[in-house]
Structure formats: structure tokens, C-alpha cells
């Protein structure tokens, strides 16, 4: 299982990230102090560190310097949004930089992306009898290959990574189409319809009234 260390001086934010990453199947540990974080990093091994910059004890930059030689991927999560802060963080060797306030979906996507880069992520996702090989871009249902368009594939990956989470129309649109959502959701609906049809997920991919869609999977 992938172990993620969350370092943020705000307990609510630690818990928030912890809850969401745990639900996505990661094993999380939280710490609110820079020095304690360094101790933990030394003692245990982690696959990814989510790091705030303004920390009591030792700043995120200090911890970054300490972590770099270990080769553990790091994502900065901070309220510092200015370009020079971001550049500083990335120059220090961080793999990504997320500015507060952030969307949980975006956090998950970035975590996924960084882990994939380090070949630590689950490259094969499953939901029921559907298997998705993200790297090979191959989708099979009950052993039979299903042909999907780019957008349909993106939607499917997003749904499987966020099982049982109601994904809002704007979130889906912004993440898959990478454009700002202006309320015209017919394109999105159309793609979801075709995805349902191709996978036989008419019931599984449920519409959530006035919200969007949710991939339902019994636990």
C-alpha cells in the first residue's frame, strides 16, 4: 500500500487530506510540526510527502532540503501563491505545487500524477468487471476490449479513481476537457451516455440530481 505523509500545521487541513486520500485507498499519516515530520521521515519510509511551507519547528523549505537526497516525491501544499514562492518550491526539487484553497479532486489527480511519474501508482484500475490499464490506455470489460474515445477514457479514469464520490459537472468538465465550465453540459452528458452504453453501466454510473454523476460501487 502506498504511504503518504501529510505535514501541515493546521489539524483541520491534515484531517481533510487524510480523509480523502484514505478514501482513495492510500495509507496516510499526519504531522503538524516540522521537526517531528523530519523525525518521522527518518524513521519510516514514505512514498509521497505533502508539505506545507509555513510550519512550526522547521519550514517546508528546510524539510525539502532534508528530503531531497532521499528521492521521496514531494508536493507542496501552501497558501503562498506568488510565482516566486512556487518557483522556489519547484527549484528545491518539489514535484508539484498546490495552492490553498484547493479542490480535493485536483489534489487526488496531482497525487496520482506524481505517483505515476515515480511508477508507484496503481497502473491498473478496476471497477466491477471493468479493468483499465492507464498506461496502455486499454479498457476491458469481462476480458473483452472496449474502444473508447479520449474524453470517454478520461471520464472513466476520473470516475474509477473517485468511486462513490459525486463528481460535479464543472469538476468533470474542467478536469477532462481542461476548459472552464460555462454551464453547457450537453457535451458532458452525451459522453457519459456513450460511456454507460459501451460499458453497460446504465445503473452503476448514476446521475445525481442537480449535481453530476457518481460511480456507485458496493463496498
Amino acid at each position: 500500500m502506498i504511504k503518504i505523509l501529510i505535514v501541515d500545521d493546521e489539524k483541520p487541513i491534515c484531517d481533510l487530506i487524510d480523509l480523502n486520500l484514505s478514501a482513495a485507498g492510500y495509507c496516510c499519516q499526519t504531522v503538524q510540526d516540522g521537526l517531528k515530520a523530519a523525525e518521522l521521515i527518518e524513521k519510516e519510509s514514505f512514498d509521497l510527502i505533502l508539505l506545507d511551507i509555513m510550519l512550526p519547528g522547521a519550514s517546508g523549505y528546510d524539510i525539502m532540503e532534508y528530503v531531497r537526497p532521499m528521492g521521496i516525491p514531494v508536493i507542496f501544499i501552501t497558501a503562498k501563491h506568488e510565482v516566486r514562492d512556487r518557483v522556489k518550491g519547484l527549484k528545491l526539487g518539489a514535484d508539484d505545487y498546490l495552492v490553498k484553497p484547493f479542490d480535493v479532486v485536483e489534489l487526488l489527480a496531482r497525487v496520482e500524477a506524481v505517483l505515476r511519474r515515480y511508477n508507484k501508482s496503481n497502473q491498473v484500475l478496476t471497477a466491477g468487471d471493468v479493468t483499465v490499464d492507464v498506461e496502455a490506455r486499454r479498457v476491458t470489460k469481462a476480458g473483452k476490449e472496449v474502444a473508447l474515445t479520449n474524453k470517454e477514457f478520461g471520464l472513466l479514469v476520473l470516475f474509477i479513481r473517485n468511486k462513490n464520490v459525486a463528481l460535479f459537472r464543472e469538476t468533470l468538465y474542467e478536469r477532462v476537457w481542461e476548459e472552464e465550465y460555462f454551464g453547457d453540459s450537453r457535451t458532458l452528458d452525451l459522453h457519459v451516455q456513450r460511456l454507460r452504453k459501451k460499458l453497460g453501466w446504465e445503473k452503476k454510473l448514476a446521475a445525481v440530481y442537480k449535481v453530476g454523476y457518481r460511480l456507485e460501487e458496493p463496498k
Binding site: P12, L16, Q32, M54, K80, K100, F102, V104
Partner: protein, 470 residues
């Protein structure tokens, strides 16, 4: 043209004129004196010759009553040859200015002779075949004849000396000018050094090096100018630094504000998003909702505090005369409800001029801070005491204390010494900033004394009410 060059050129010009004039005057003066001396000698010679002539004429045998022309010639010739070694030249003329005898080489015209009078000796300088002579003339009586005796005296040497004087003097002048120019160049460059220093300083400052100062090299007007310039630069630099510090403060404030705003927002947005998009179990739902509530409260507290500060900054306060005892009673009542701390209130009664509600806020903030810094059941002492300058309020705790380098920062908005500790006690880092604003309205300042591990003491002085002071 450079100032030093101007100075150099004008000095050299004045020097040249002065040297030229003095040289000409001096050489000419020497020449004039030499010439008049020569003329005097020539006249003396003329007198001697006349005397000799008259004597010789007396010695002529008085065969005749009248001196014959050839006799005169004879005498003149004798006189001439007697002074042969000196190259004596003379000319003898009769009463009608007719030449009776002339030495060989006596080629002067008769202009002087024609003007000559009987009893007057006169002289003039003439130029004859490349040489200068002093020509003299005087009348003489020999027997009954009226005669005129002229002499020539070679004075070329005097003229040559004058020429030589001019030549030497020209050389000396040129040499002196060159030497003077060198010295003046040196002097000018020394004198204009302060100007060059100033020029350099202005250039460096214009290029952005505001800390550069011109070196002060003299105590004269230029030195004073340099000093004044440096003072001006100093004042400007200080002003600029102050402005920069203000801008920096404002930037820091905005950055801190953004950070303090985003942190609770992240939680609120994140948990709300979880609530709306996930089916959470009851425990998690409660946790999320609670976080949204507490973080929302935190935002509220922060915005209210900020508002307080902004309002306080703009406020025009009206001061009242307040009894310290009443104020302490109020505080005591407010804090005795807290059982986790030990409070000690003691004051000297006095009437103090203040805006009571604002000062209450200050004291409550300070006591709150003292509680936050202390262990459970720690002791917090609030005291009031008369002093020479006014009335001093002090809040003392025996808590963690503040590190020396932190003391100057703790009154800045959003600054928290121990963030996680402050946060857990619901602080926004704005309390002391508010206190400082309120005290500034009262013309007072917050005094902070602290030692790590031993505790801190925050105090301020307010003026006594007027009727008390009298």
C-alpha cells in the same frame, strides 16, 4: 570646460600679463638709468674737453687778438688725439654753427648743433651706422670767439644690454609661466577635489547607490557644501528607507492576511465539498460539519478583529476620566469566572484620562495573552501604579516568555510566536496589533519585558486626569 582648467588658464593669463609688464618696466628702468648715467658722463667729458680747450686757447701765444681757425683746428686735433685710446670723437663749430673741425667718423648731422644755445649743455641719442651714441653740445669762449664743442660717446652697450635683458626676461617669463602652470594645475586640482567628490557622489547616487557619501576634504565653503549635501542625502535615504519599510510592512500584512484567510477557507471548502459529494458516515459528517463551523468562527473572529483595528485607526476618541478602581473591579469580575488560572489584581486608586472601552479591550487582550502563555493554574498579576509620568498599568505572567528577537515582531498583525499553540487557543495574531493601535490613540506605547522560561510583563502608561494632576 572643466573648472580646474578654467582656473588654470585664468591664473596663467594673469601671471603672463603681470610678468610681462614687470619685466618690461624693470628692463626699461635699468636701461633708462644706464642711459642717463652715460649721458651725464658724456656731458662731463664735454665739460672737461671744453675746459681743456679753453685752457689750451689761453696758452696760445697772443700773436693775434683773434684765434685763427687753423689754431682751433690744431687744438681740437690735439684734444682728440690725447684721448685716442678711448676713441674720442669731437666736432668744433663756429659761432654761425659752421663746422671748423670734425674727428674722423663724426658723422652726426647738425640737428642738435642748430638748436644749441650759448650757455646750455644739451644731449641726444643718435644712431650712426649700426651703433648708438650720445651726442653732446656746449658753447665755449676762447679768446673772443664763441665756439660750439660737440662730442660723441658710444653707448651701444647700454642698448645691447637692454636687448639682452629683454631676451633673458622673455626666457625667464616663459619658464616661470610653465612652472606656474604646473603649480597652478596642482593647486587647482587640489582645490577642486571636493567638487569632484560631489560629482562622483551625485553620479553614484543617481545610479541608485543611495548609501554613498562624498568625502569631506576641507573646512571651507566647499567642505560645508559637501557636508550639507551629505546631510541632504542622509535625510533622503532615511526617508526612502522609511517608505520602503512601510511598503514592506504593508506587503507583509497583505501576505499574512492572505495566508490567514486561505487556511480556514481551505478547510471550509474542502469539508463542504466532502459533505456534498460523498456519503459519509455519521462520525465523519459530524467531524466535517464541526470543522466547517470552527474554521468559520475563526474567520469571523479574524474579520472582527481586523475591523476593530481599521475602525480604531480611523477613530477620534473622546477621553473620559475613569476611576482605576472601577476598571479593576470590572476586570476582576470578568476573569474570576475562569478557574483554570490564578489572577491577582491590585491597584492604587487614581483618576486616569482614557477611552474606557478601548483600554478595557487592551487589558483584556493582555490578560488573555498572559493566560495563553501560562501553564494551567499559572499566576497572572494585573497591577496599577502611579508614576512620575502618569499611571502605569502592567500585566505580568510567569509563562513561557518571549525570545529577544521575537519581541519586536509580536506586535505585527498576524504574527504568532508559537503558531500551533496560539491556534489551539483560538488566536488570530491580531490582539497585540490592536493594543498598539489603541495605545497610539492615547499617545502611549506598549512596553514589553520578557525572559524566556520566566514570563513576560506588558505595561503602558496613561496620563492622569487633569484635576488629579493639579
Amino acid at each position: 570646460m572643466k573648472f580646474s582648467l578654467k582656473l588654470l588658464l585664468s591664473t596663467v593669463m594673469v601671471l603672463a600679463a603681470a610678468l610681462g609688464f614687470t619685466g618690461y618696466f624693470f628692463v626699461n628702468y635699468v636701461f633708462e638709468t644706464s642711459l642717463s648715467r652715460e649721458a651725464r658722463q658724456a656731458l662731463d667729458e664735454n665739460s672737461i674737453l671744453r675746459f681743456a680747450f679753453e685752457t689750451a686757447a689761453l696758452n696760445v701765444p697772443t700773436k693775434y687778438d683773434v684765434l685763427q681757425d687753423h689754431t682751433l683746428e690744431q687744438i681740437a686735433s690735439n684734444l682728440e688725439t690725447s684721448g685716442q685710446r678711448t676713441g674720442r670723437l669731437l666736432r668744433l663749430s663756429g659761432e654761425e654753427k659752421n663746422v671748423l673741425y670734425a674727428s674722423e667718423g663724426f658723422e652726426a648731422d647738425s640737428a642738435l648743433l642748430l638748436q644749441a644755445e650759448e650757455n646750455v649743455r644739451s644731449w641726444q641719442v643718435i644712431f650712426l651706422s649700426g651703433r648708438y651714441y650720445v651726442q653732446t653740445v656746449s658753447g665755449l669762449h676762447a679768446m673772443d670767439r664763441m665756439l660750439y664743442l660737440e662730442t660723441l660717446r658710444d653707448v651701444s652697450e647700454v642698448f645691447e644690454e637692454r636687448e639682452l635683458g629683454f631676451v633673458v626676461y622673455r626666457r625667464v617669463t616663459v619658464l616661470m609661466l610653465a612652472l606656474g602652470a604646473c603649480i597652478m594645475h596642482f593647486i587647482a586640482s587640489v582645490l577642486t577635489r571636493p567638487i569632484r567628490q560631489l560629482k562622483k557622489a551625485t553620479k553614484r547616487m543617481a545610479a541608485g547607490e543611495y548609501g554613498y557619501r562624498a568625502k569631506r576634504l576641507s573646512a571651507d565653503e566647499l567642505g560645508q557644501l559637501t557636508r550639507d549635501f551629505n546631510r541632504m542625502a542622509q535625510a533622503l535615504e532615511e526617508n526612502m528607507k522609511e517608505l520602503e519599510a512601510q511598503v514592506q510592512d504593508r506587503e507583509d500584512f497583505v501576505a499574512a492576511f492572505a495566508h490567514e484567510l486561505k487556511t480556514p477557507l481551505t478547510s471550509i471548502i474542502g469539508y463542504a465539498d466532502m459533505l456534498r459529494s460523498r456519503r459519509l458516515d455519521e462520525e465523519k459528517s459530524f467531524l466535517s460539519a464541526n470543522y466547517i463551523y470552527t474554521e468559520g468562527k475563526r474567520l469571523e473572529a479574524m474579520s472582527l478583529r481586523l475591523l476593530d483595528i481599521i475602525v480604531t485607526k480611523r477613530q477620534k476618541v473622546e477621553f473620559q476620566t475613569v476611576s482605576v478602581q472601577l476598571l479593576f473591579d470590572y476586570l476582576q469580575e470578568m476573569f474570576t469566572a475562569r478557574e483554570d488560572m490564578e489572577f491577582l489584581f491590585s491597584c492604587e486608586e487614581a483618576m486616569v484620562s482614557m477611552e474606557a472601552n478601548l483600554i478595557k479591550t487592551v487589558l483584556i487582550n493582555l490578560v488573555d495573552n498572559a493566560c495563553k502563555a501560562s501553564e494551567e493554574h499559572g499566576r497572572v498579576a494585573v497591577t496599577g501604579k502611579r508614576e512620575d509620568a502618569g499611571y502605569r498599568f502592567a500585566v505580568q505572567d510567569h509563562g513561557v516568555g518571549i525570545e529577544r528577537e521575537e519581541i519586536s515582531k509580536i506586535t505585527k498583525a498576524f504574527y504568532m510566536v508559537d503558531k500551533s499553540r496560539a491556534r489551539s487557543k483560538n488566536g488570530a495574531g491580531l490582539g497585540l496589533a490592536l493594543c498598539v493601535e489603541i495605545l497610539a490613540l492615547h499617545g502611549s506605547r506598549l512596553k514589553i519585558e520578557s525572559e524566556t522560561g520566566k514570563g513576560s510583563r506588558f505595561s503602558f502608561v496613561l496620563p492622569m486626569a487633569e484635576r488629579e494632576a493639579v
